[in-house]
């Protein structure tokens, strides 16, 4: 049998893990105690898989660490107990905990790159775990390491074992970390956001692996995630957390199909939105606002000798599309599909080497500085990371007033009034104008960035993954404001995202990109319901798992 740890029979009803009234407090620099985990109780049986869901700040990661007897600096377990395999982790000494880590409980941390030692080949790292934790000899650990890599679905294990972490892809790193975690077959395996850093296809493969592990292992598994699709896919039970407390818990099917708490519905709503009707504004009649014809792009390879550097492989190849006035066009694809590069070229950050851009009937030069002032005003962009898109040393009001002064020639007072009006339209208190970016939440920062773009009164807005750095409930809020703004101003939008729910909600028309080409384009509804291209179908399949878990009738209809 390939699966070494499949020998034992699965699922004994006896709970492996018992958490009772667990409280964890964090003491800040001012000495005030802050309850990060507040009276959490649950049981986990051997062979069962529990999903802990919640937004960032809900205490789910703190809880996950506590299950390994670990607390972040400044925080401590102040009440309750964690019984794992008969021992209370809260009462064990650091040395006793260290002996159990890896053998009794193990963790797959969020960032696989950070948890691997960067200057050591990955094979040696796994062998070290096997030698020190499982007590294998050097020769035995070498064989076992290759076997484990093989079981993790890593091809050519011998060659891969000699590589360093930075030479592996994100998916491969995650598999290596998983191999280290299951190396000693722990009773409890904790996975902290195992797929957050991965793109959709890799995510699906890693999840498939986790599913196989789950079936093959006797021990219990806890998966911490903000992505309810992952919970729907893998877990038996789910525990929804907010502000350190358990909002709701139960079997996945029951919680997802009939959530009792409003908060659970908000989280689910974000994942289920694929099933809602599109609310995008219709395109205005008339000639196209933006036309892209035969656009190609390659990065220049750096060269020591030649001034004119040779070009790398094509990032974009023969892209053609058009956006009508007031129309929202969705651009979807995985990372590496070239969608961000496309946005960068239309915005004027990059210069395509082939093809042409036409804006409002006139040829549009490549880089922003070659364009006319009027063209620069009419094409604006909102970036992915809200914090980095605002200058940390300037008040956010400055950022919004600057385009008004630059393009409309308003004086300080008029611009301040204009900025306050924009803020109100986007649901921001005008008092926030005098704050610095760090004093705002992520959702507020992104709305400020949207306000800055609208301050120029653009005709075309390029949005590059503008919600991917935000929590689910905040995403909805930001998109609502953006949609309302777009409707009022009749702004056309190029909406670049890997999140299908965003496209479904905002765009009536969509193009699907892969490997620098457009695979498919047309009405969002038609493509989502009947994708012609197998790649599109796979992309859509990954997105609607949560929907199916919650609504069996949809699952039947689709399959």
């Amino acid at each position: 049998m390939r699966w070494g740890w499949m020998r034992r029979e699965v699922a004994v009803a006896e709970p492996v893990l018992q958490v009772r009234a667990l409280c964890i407090e964090w003491r800040g620099a001012d000495g005030r105690a802050n309850r990060v985990v507040d009276g959490v109780s649950f049981d986990l049986a051997a062979g069962a898989t529990l999903g802990i869901a919640g937004e960032s700040g809900s205490g789910k990661s703190t809880l996950a660490r506590a299950l390994l007897g670990h607390c972040r600096a400044g925080s401590a377990i102040t009440g309750g107990s964690i019984h794992l395999d008969g021992d209370d982790l809260a009462a064990l000494s650091e040395a006793e905990l260290a002996r159990r880590r890896g053998r009794v409980m193990a963790m797959v941390p969020q960032n696989p790159l950070a948890s691997l030692t960067f200057h050591m080949p990955v094979g040696r790292q796994l062998e070290e775990v096997l030698r020190l934790r499982a007590g294998l000899s050097a020769a035995a650990s070498r064989l076992r390491a290759l076997e484990l890599f093989d079981q993790m679905g890593l091809p050519e294990a011998e060659r891969l074992a000699r590589r360093y972490p930075h030479q592996l892809s994100g998916g491969q790193r995650q598999r290596v970390v998983l191999a280290c975690a299951v190396a000693c077959d722990p009773l409890l395996l904790v996975l902290d956001e195992p797929t957050t850093a991965l793109d959709k296809t890799t995510e699906a493969q890693v999840l498939e692996l986790v599913r196989r592990l789950r079936r093959a292992r006797k021990g219990a598994m806890v998966i911490v995630t903000h992505d309810l699709n992952v919970v729907a896919d893998i877990c038996d039970r789910v525990l929804v957390m907010q502000h350190g407390r358990i909002v709701e818990q139960g079997p996945v099917g029951a919680v997802f199909s009939a959530p009792r708490e409003a908060y659970t519905r908000v989280l689910l709503g974000a994942a289920l939105r694929v099933e809602e009707a599109s609310r995008a504004a219709p395109a205005l009649p008339g000639p196209a606002l933006l036309e892209v014809e035969g656009l190609g792009f390659r990065y220049a390879r750096p060269s020591l000798l030649l001034r004119r550097a040779p070009l790398g492989p094509p990032i974009l190849d023969g892209i053609g599309l058009s956006v009508a006035r007031g129309e929202v066009l969705g651009v979807i694809g995985e990372s590496g599909s070239g969608k961000t590069t496309l946005g960068g070229i239309v915005a004027g950050l990059l210069d395509g080497q082939a093809g042409a851009l036409r804006f409002d009937g006139r040829l549009l030069p490549g880089l922003a500085r070659q364009r006319t002032r009027e063209q620069r005003r009419r094409i604006q962009m909102v970036f992915q990371d809200p914090l980095s898109s605002l200058n940390p040393r300037r008040r956010v009001g400055d950022a919004v007033m600057r385009p008004m002064r630059l393009f409309q020639g308003l004086d300080q007072r008029e611009a301040a009034r204009g900025a306050a009006a924009l803020f109100e339209e986007l649901g921001l208190e005008p008092a926030l104008l005098s704050r610095f970016p760090r004093q705002l939440s992520g959702g507020q920062q992104q709305r400020v960035a949207i306000a800055r773009a609208f301050a120029a009164q653009p005709d075309l807005l390029i949005c590059d993954e503008i919600t991917s750095a935000l929590d689910a409930s905040v995403q909805a809020q930001v998109l609502d404001h953006l949609a309302a703004m777009q409707r009022r101003q009749g702004t056309a939008m190029l909406l670049i995202t890997h999140d299908l729910a965003v496209v479904w909600r905002m765009a009536r028309r969509v193009v699907v990109m892969q490997g620098g080409r457009i695979l498919e384009s047309g009405a969002t509804e038609a493509i989502f319901r009947n994708p012609e291209n197998p790649y599109t179908a796979a992309l859509l399949g990954a997105a609607s798992r949560a929907a199916r878990a919650g609504r069996p009738e949809l699952a039947e209809a689709r399959e």
């Binding site: 950050l349 002032r373 992915q384 940390p392 630059l406 800055r452």
Partner: protein, 275 residues
């Protein structure tokens, strides 16, 4: 700032700098004698009148010691300011423009690294005359090169930030982007650079004076005092040790303060000088 004061080494450093500054500013009032007047027989031993004795010309060594940091500190701080302002603008412009301009600036920086510091100042002083303004410019240029490199590196990182891209897309000019978007974000970095550059400049000025290339006699100066006292090191060690100790404590103080400042601002955390 409060965080800097919680670190004992930084506190000590700041205290040393403040003491030296206060003494230098107050020297005309607190020094018992004029630093350049010939008062008594040369090489009087230390005593109640002349606390450190008199030097080889019969001037009060203690009064000269109190006065001795004034010009050197003026040159060091002015050169530090020249280095930080010039270096930041040049480095940020190189990081912003890249391409040919960047190449030229970086080759200049490397050229300066290839020429020995003392030789550079010697040529400069020979060409433009030995005066305090010339010294400030020469030492400033030498210290500037390090600032160019750090601010260029910080600038390149900042250029990737969304707010800089947004400004570029709106067609903001280079100087506006450098002054509005980049400069405020390297302010922390520059504060630390200033402290480090001024400390290194002070050491350099003292060395130059010692070699006769820096501050000219009869101005009271620690570097000059060390040079004057060298011949009498065996009989009158205090004439060398006292000014040397002053230089050492001031440079040490400035370095400790700079380190504490960098620590408090979180600049060691590889944040590229950002926010």
């Amino acid at each position: 700032m409060g965080a800097a004061l919680r670190r004992p080494a930084a506190l000590l450093g700041g205290l040393l700098v403040v003491i030296h500054l206060v003494v230098a500013i107050a020297a005309p009032w607190i020094a018992p004698f004029a630093p350049t007047s010939l008062l008594d027989a040369p090489l009087e031993p230390p005593g109640a009148t002349y606390w450190l004795g008199t030097d080889d010309l019969g001037r009060d060594a203690f009064s000269r010691l109190l006065w001795g940091g004034r010009v050197a500190m003026l040159v060091a701080f002015a050169a530090g300011a020249v280095a930080v302002l010039g270096g930041a603008l040049l480095g940020l412009a190189a990081g912003y423009r890249r391409g040919g301009f960047d190449d030229v600036v970086m080759r200049l920086v490397e050229m300066k690294l290839a020429v020995p510091t003392i030789l550079f100042v010697a040529i400069f002083v020979t060409g433009f005359g030995q005066s305090v303004p010339v010294l400030i410019v020469a030492v400033g240029i030498i210290q500037m090169m390090g600032v160019v490199r750090t601010s260029r590196a910080a600038g390149i990182v900042l250029m990737e930030q969304g707010y800089v891209r947004a400004a570029q897309l709106n067609g903001e000019s280079g100087p506006v982007i450098i002054l509005r978007e980049l400069l405020p974000n390297v302010a922390d970095l520059l504060a630390v650079e200033f402290a480090l550059r001024a400390s290194s400049a002070l050491l350099l000025v003292s060395a130059l004076s010692f070699l006769g290339l820096g501050i000219s006699p009869p101005t009271p100066d620690w570097g000059l005092m060390v040079e004057d006292g060298m011949a009498l090191l065996e009989s009158e060690p205090a004439l060398v040790l006292a000014p040397a100790l002053c230089i050492a404590t001031l440079v040490l103080g400035m370095n400790l303060a700079a380190e504490g400042l960098a620590d408090a601002l979180g600049l060691d955390a590889a944040r590229g000088g950002g926010g």
